[in-house]
Each structure stands twice: as structure tokens, then as C-alpha cells.
Amino acid sequence: MEHPTPTPPAMTTGRDTVFTPFNVVAGIIIFIGCILTVMRFAKGIGGVTNLDDTNPWGIWIGFDLLCGVALAAGGYVTCAACYIFGLKQFRCAVRPAILTAFLGYGLVVFALQYDVGRPWRLPYPIFLSQGTSSLLFEVALCVFLYLSVLMLEFSPAVFEWLNWKHARYIIGKVSMVLVIFGIILSTLHQSSLGAIFLIVPSKLHPLWYSGYLPVYFFISSMFAGMSMVIFEHSLVDRFLHNKIDAEHHVESNNVALGFAKAAAFLMSGYIMIQVIGIAIDNDWHYLGTRWGLWYLIEIIGFVALPAIMFAIGVRERNIKLIQRTALWAVLGIVLNRLNVSLVAFNWQLPLNQRYFPSWMEIMTTIFIVTIGVVAYKFIVTRMPVLHVHPDFPDDH
């Protein structure tokens, strides 16, 4: 197959000015974020958030941590598809997915610097005092290890960019061990993030609380990852088109079709286990309440319908439809994680004791997401992520 050399980075801006609309908006957001950072560490968590003693976790956990980890699942899902199940056509999707995962987890850890009271003590659970009875300990250990694994998994792109042939050769030797280790770690902490809420049956609404929470989180992380890979490619295709070489371009459609099909199946399986969860706890009567309506909106509106749309998209080979559905499914995952951690949490309390994020919390989250987008753009315009490096043609 032909490998056209991608346009060199210098030509991508097209203009001489750095004041592109993207840069201006990102710059403003990052500037505000820096101010909020100063405020957070000068006034304390209470100075910038709406958190209180009854609602100790807000969107910095519900969105930045839970959604961040779920949407970064594309890394392990794509690696598994390509290297474990032997689906070679997914090879082109591996590096972008690993990059997204690496940035996702990096930002999760970055967001925790804001959320926990004494962030410089974050290594304590791993190195100083291991609270092994806590599921959060398991999450912390897995996220720490997986972030290291992702760094190593992404390092080939960096080594190729720097042209460090020897380092690139060595990391290539251990890549399969990293892949397997990464999948095990992902299985553990994706499910453990759900298992964290096993301890609060009295606070989480019965429609969202279930003994199967770890399974729900693990299964949904798979189609979250797949949807994210599809959605991310649709963005890259639109905004970073000249970074993609012909092979990536052709195969990305196959990746979309393959992942859409798999996601449709996984989502229907997910709905089945949700129904089983309700049946086992005999929560049927809650479905008639307002909470039940909200639950049905999540399960039907943001899982069942996207699953059907994925299936139709695959049958008609309609990539546009699949890409739009991917965004829909991603929103469904965000909704689910927010429901479990915030909306259905403390559901019995009166409205005046419930939590709603402050604008500063929301802005900090936007700031963190923006850092991710900027970092992604910076990396893919320089390193061989969306195209094959001419000197390392067959080294993925």
C-alpha cells in the first residue's frame, strides 16, 4: 500500500499567526484555569466548590475521574482487539487510542490534585500505608500502574519522533507484556470504580445500586472506549485531516464498522444485565416513579437507542451515522457515571441538601479537558500517531 508522507508540521497552521480561533479560546480557558488553580490552593476546596460534609464528591470525581477513566477505555479495548483477538485491521487505531488513554489517565491524576485535600500525599496509599480493605486502594494502585504502562506503551511514538532507534527497539521487545498487563489492570480498576459504590446501598438509589455495579462499570467501559475511538476519529478526520495517512484513513472506516458492531452487542448485553440487576433486587416498583423515568431515559435513551443506531449504521455501512451514534453513546456513559456518583447519590435528601457544582468547579473541569485537547493536538501534529513514521514503517 502507498504511504504518502504526511504534511510536515510547519505547514499545518497555514497562517503565520498563532492567534487562530482554537488557540485564542484555549488560551482564555487555560488562563482562567490558572487563576482557579491559585484560588483552589489559596482558599481551599471550600473556596471554589459547592462541596459540603454531606456531599463530599462533586464533578471533579463524578466527571473528571469516573468519566475520564471510562472514556479512556479505548486504549485497552483497541489493544485487546488488535493484539489479543488478532484483528489486524485495528492496528491503525492502536496508537491514537493509547494516546487518548494516556492523556485521559494523566488528566484524571491531574484533576485529583484539585480534588483531594493534600494532593502531595497521593503516593501514600501506594508507598506508605496500604489500606488494602479499600476499593479505592485498588483503584489507586491500578491507575498508578496503568498510567505507567500507558506511558511505556506510548513511548515508541516518542522514540520514533526523537529518532532514538535503540530505545525504540527495546520497548518493542516488551510491548506484548505491556498490552497484557494493561488489559488486566483496566479490567480491575474499571470495575473497581463501580465497586467503590458498593459500600453505599443506603445512599445510592436502588435503580443504580446493584451488587453488579463492578460488572456494569466494566462492560460499559468497553463500549465507552469503542465509542470514544470512533468519535475521536471523526474529530481528527475533520480537524486534523492532513495528519492522517492513506492507510489510517482506509482502515479507520473498518475500525468504525467493527467497533460499532461490537458496541451494539455489548450494549444489548449491558441492558440485559441491568434488567437482571433490577429483577434480583426486585426494584421493579421504582420504575413507576420519577427516578424510574430518569433511569429509563438513561437505559433506553442513551444505551438501547444508540445500540440500535450502531446496528443500523453497520448494516447500511453508514459511517456518518456510526460516528454520530458514537457521540450519543459517549454522552450516555457520561450520564451514567454522573447518575451513579452525583444524581442518584443522596437521593433521599431534600433538594436543599443536594449538590450542584459551582461555576468554578465546572470551569476547572473545562480547563482540564482543554489541556487534554491541546496536548492531543500538540502530540499528533508532531509524533507518528495518525500516520506511520517513514523510518519505522512496520513497527506498531
Binding site: 483552589r40 490552593f41 489559596a42 482558599k43 481551599g44 476546596i45 471550600g46 473556596g47 466548590t49 462541596l51 459540603d52 460534609d53 454531606t54 463530599p56 464528591w57 485487546a80 493484539y83 489479543i84 483477538f85 488478532g86 480534588d115 483531594v116 485535600g117 493534600r118 494532593p119 500525599r121 497521593l122 501514600y124 496509599p125 506508605l128 500505608s129 496500604q130 489500606g131 488494602t132 480493605s133 479499600s134 476499593l135 479505592l136 486502594f137 485498588e138 489507586a140 506484548m176 497484557i180 488489559i183 488486566i184 479490567t187 480491575l188 470495575s191 473497581s192 465497586a195 467503590i196 458498593l198 459500600i199 453505599v200 446501598p201 443506603s202 445512599k203 451488587g211 463492578p214
Partner: protein, 372 residues
């Protein structure tokens, strides 16, 4: 294959070994019913005796050296609003007016010191510990500030110093652990003018509570709150009003919090061990399939090449045969032609009987004959 037997056993060993190294006693998973540390202390709160004087709050504030609140402790107007413990307030007294009661009911709220606390099992740095005295105590020097203990607590007790930028701590009642270790009673118990609070051995307190309920069945609700809630607490309550009417949840169940997460924790080593097998198995299967497919392809290709070559050979041979026979036929034809020509010449010569012509036209004749 990317993994050798030695590698495989190495990984399995590491997986099992790490679990053994990290594992503590999995009490919740075993068939053992933990009934609390023997001889551990507790407090019995007789709600029917409480008059809402807030003297316990004042004493708590004093013995724990907390900052003074804006409204003094003798101001009872704060009772009109339901409160919960916060930073600098380890205990609060709330006032309730259940429908079937003419007089208000007062309830003191603080850490219940669960026998198997959710907060302790949730803490990922062991900053919260269940002491053998019965107290759940906190070590601020380890705390990261993740606030999972606050999420986990079914009674919404731990509070956080949200306004401290660099040294925020979890705050909650510690059952006056330093005083207990000195042989003293908790500050609030000492301060209560109504003997609504009784400090002592938890087992003894349960006996006292039962006796009081038996003695005055008309006065008390027949339930010792905290005897079994969430696996049991070291702080116990008896009440003259239904517990649900005074904001004390009766739907918490009797399962201790660690039992709710022990299954998920127990799955971790199983997943680690089995995933190594499954993942390598899947990979081996997909590689083997690929290998078989390649072999099949190669076989098919070589078979096709062979038949094609055979066919080609056959065709060439046929062509060769054809060419040979055609050549022979052509030679025979030419010879025949020449012979005929010679024979004609001879007969012509014989007819003319002239000597000259045979020399010229007879010359090729011997050649042809030699060829034959």
C-alpha cells in the same frame, strides 16, 4: 509464541504472591461472625431522658479544644434547625416533634463507632482505625483527603475542613479516646445532667437497655438502635419515639460495610490470575488460527502452482510433439517432392538423351539421397 512456560509461571507466581503479601484477614468472606472487640466500650443514649440542654455539645467542644461557635451553647434557638456534625462540631443535639408526641424529642448525634466501620474499610491509607477500646480513631498524618470515608459512612458523620487550603483534616468524634485511655469517661457523658448518656462495656450497655425497655414497655420503642445496625455499633440508642421519626434510618440493614465490598475485593486476585490465562489463551488461539490459515493458504498456493506447472509441462510437451511431427512431415514432404522432381528429371533426361542436363540438375540429387 510470545510467552514461555517459565514466563507464565513467573507471572502466576507474582500474581498470587502479591495477593498473599497484601492480604489481611478476610473476615467478612469467611464464615465468622465478628461481634466486636471483647470488653470494648460504648455509650448508651437514652433519648427519652434527653432535654436538649446542649451541655454535651459544650463539653465536647471544651475537651477537644475546638473553636468556639458564634452562638453560645446555652442558646437553645439553634435547636429549631436540624444540624449535623461539621468541622469543629463533633456532636450536635437535634430536636424533633413526632406527630404522636406532645413534647419534643431530643437526639444527640455523633460518630456511632461501628464495630466494623464503613469509613475504616473505605480508607485507602489506614488513616482511620477501629481501636480495641471501641473508638474509631483518625490519624491525620496519613490522610490524603479523598473523602471516601464521608461517602461511605451510612450515618453521614465524618466532616471535612474544606476551608483549610493546605492542611485540611477529617473531623469526627473519637469517643474521647485519650480520656478513655486515662480511665476517664467521654466529655459528653460526664457533662450530661440527665444521665441520658451511659458509658460502659458494650455488652453491659445492651443489658441495661433491655432492662429499661422491659421495665417500661409503654415508654420505649422495642428496639436497641445500634445493636445490629450496619453490623452493630459501640454507640447504642433507646427511644420513646419511632427511630424513623427522629431521622434515624431503620433501613440500613445489619450487614457490616466491609461485607458489601469483600466480594469485589476477593475477585481481584481471581481476575489477575485468570486473565493471564484467558488473554494468553485467546492470543494463542488467534495466532494459531492465523498460522493454520497461512499454512492452508500456502498449501493451496503450492497445490495450484503444481497443477498449473503440470498443465504447462503437458502443453509444452504436446506442442513439442506437434512441432516435431510437423517438422518430420515437412521433411518427408520435401524429400518426396525432391524425389519426384529427380525422377521427373531422370525421365526427361532419358527421353532427351542429352548428356549435359543431368550434370546441372542432377547435382542436388546425391545430397538428398545422403540425407535420407
Amino acid at each position: 509464541m510470545g510467552i514461555s512456560r517459565r514466563q507464565f509461571f513467573g507471572w502466576m507466581g507474582a500474581a498470587v504472591g502479591s495477593q498473599m503479601a497484601f492480604s489481611t484477614q478476610a473476615k467478612a468472606a469467611a464464615n465468622i461472625h465478628f461481634t466486636g472487640y471483647p470488653g470494648s466500650f460504648g455509650v448508651l443514649h437514652d433519648i427519652s431522658r434527653c432535654i436538649g440542654c446542649r451541655k454535651c455539645e459544650a463539653a465536647c467542644n471544651q475537651v477537644n479544644e475546638l473553636s468556639k461557635p458564634e452562638t453560645p451553647f446555652d442558646d437553645l434557638t439553634v435547636l429549631s434547625k436540624t444540624r449535623r456534625p461539621h468541622a469543629d462540631t463533633y456532636t450536635v443535639v437535634n430536636q424533633f416533634k413526632p406527630n404522636d408526641k406532645s413534647s419534643p424529642v431530643f437526639v444527640k448525634t455523633q460518630c456511632n463507632h461501628c464495630m466494623e466501620p464503613a469509613c475504616v474499610s473505605a480508607c485507602f491509607v489506614k488513616a482511620l482505625i477501629k481501636s480495641e477500646t471501641g473508638a474509631v480513631v483518625y490519624d491525620a498524618s496519613l490522610c490524603v483527603g479523598c473523602r471516601y470515608c464521608m461517602v461511605a459512612c451510612p450515618f453521614n458523620i465524618p466532616a471535612y475542613e474544606y476551608d483549610k487550603p493546605l492542611t485540611p483534616e477529617i473531623t469526627k468524634c473519637n469517643l474521647c479516646q485519650p480520656r478513655i485511655q486515662k480511665g476517664l469517661r467521654p466529655g459528653c457523658v460526664d457533662a450530661c445532667p440527665q444521665e441520658a448518656l451511659t458509658f460502659g462495656n458494650r455488652n453491659e450497655l445492651i443489658k441495661i437497655a433491655r432492662q429499661r425497655i422491659e421495665k417500661h414497655p409503654d415508654r420505649y420503642v422495642n428496639h436497641i438502635y445500634g445493636e445490629n445496625e450496619m453490623g452493630g455499633c459501640n454507640w447504642l440508642y433507646i427511644s420513646n419515639a419511632p427511630f424513623t421519626d427522629i431521622d434515624m434510618r431503620e433501613d440500613l440493614g445489619i450487614t457490616p460495610a466491609p461485607a458489601m465490598t469483600s466480594g469485589a475485593l476477593a475477585a481481584v486476585p481471581v481476575v489477575v490470575s485468570l486473565w493471564v490465562v484467558f488473554i494468553n489463551g485467546l492470543r494463542a488461539i488467534s495466532r494459531r488460527k492465523e498460522q493454520i490459515a497461512n499454512e492452508d493458504k500456502n498449501q493451496a498456493v503450492s497445490a495450484a502452482v503444481e497443477t498449473e506447472q503440470a498443465r504447462f509441462k503437458h502443453e509444452i510437451n504436446q506442442l513439442k510433439e506437434k512441432a516435431k511431427s510437423e517438422k518430420e512431415a515437412a521433411v518427408a514432404r520435401e524429400v518426396k517432392k525432391a524425389l519426384e522432381a529427380a525422377a521427373q528429371q531422370l525421365s526427361e533426361n532419358a527421353a532427351a538423351q542429352t548428356p549435359a542436363p543431368p550434370e546441372t540438375s542432377g547435382a542436388p540429387q546425391p545430397e538428398k539421397q545422403e540425407n535420407k
